[in-house]
């Protein structure tokens, strides 16, 4: 069974903290994605990676960075968390040329 695992379902962090969201996939996929989901705004792409150590900005990269040191792991970093980063964060992976994306269950992050 294919699996994308996000390290936390719920997180509460304080303003200004450095936050790490971890994602691991077991399908040997080349592509990995971080999306942010907010009501009425859909899934907005923050960053994606198409290979180890390769990354590309999505539509809303400001305030975020990413790391992909190994093929199976893709980390999203909030350098200094702010309240407007309170959201649901979804990780996904896919393989080229099969473009189906598999999603994790999401991390609900609250910044207080």
């Amino acid at each position: 069974d294919v699996k994308v695992t996000q390290s936390s379902r719920y997180l509460v962090k304080r303003t200004g903290e450095k936050v790490f969201l971890e994602c691991v996939q077991d399908m040997d996929h080349e592509n990995m994605f971080w999306y942010r989901q907010d009501p009425g705004l859909g899934l907005r792409l923050i960053y994606f990676s198409y290979d180890v150590k390769m990354k590309e900005k999505g539509d809303i990269p400001e305030g975020y960075s990413v790391s992909r040191e190994k093929k199976e792991r893709f980390s999203l970093i909030l350098e200094s968390a702010s309240t407007n980063q309170t959201s649901m964060y979804l990780c996904a992976s896919s393989s080229v040329p099969n473009t189906e994306a598999f999603f994790g269950q999401g991390t609900r992050l609250t910044v207080v």
Binding site: N31, E56, F103, G104
Partner: protein
Amino acid sequence: QQQVKQSPQSLIVQKGGISIINCAYENTAFDYFPWYQQFPGKGPALLIAIRPDVSEKKEGRFTISFNKSAKQFSLHIMDSQPGDSATYFCAAYSSSNTGKLIFGQGTTLQVKP
């Protein structure tokens, strides 16, 4: 040009009715159009997808209609059931764009018994 616009934002349908969700895009380089279904507390999962060389694809009660000239595509759910109540996202992908998948804004569907 990278946007995918989805409507309506929410939809209420009686059991047995037809649910219709519409999406429009601008970028003619998009060549794969999937629909994802998301239940509360879960990540989205692929429901059905179409490529622009066909105008319709049907899988059970779910049908995608694709209009290449109008740059629009839609999801039809026939004989809608309460178990279909979920959030639906359309998406678009360009094989020339290193796997980047762009999503619409989402539609929350409620099917009343």
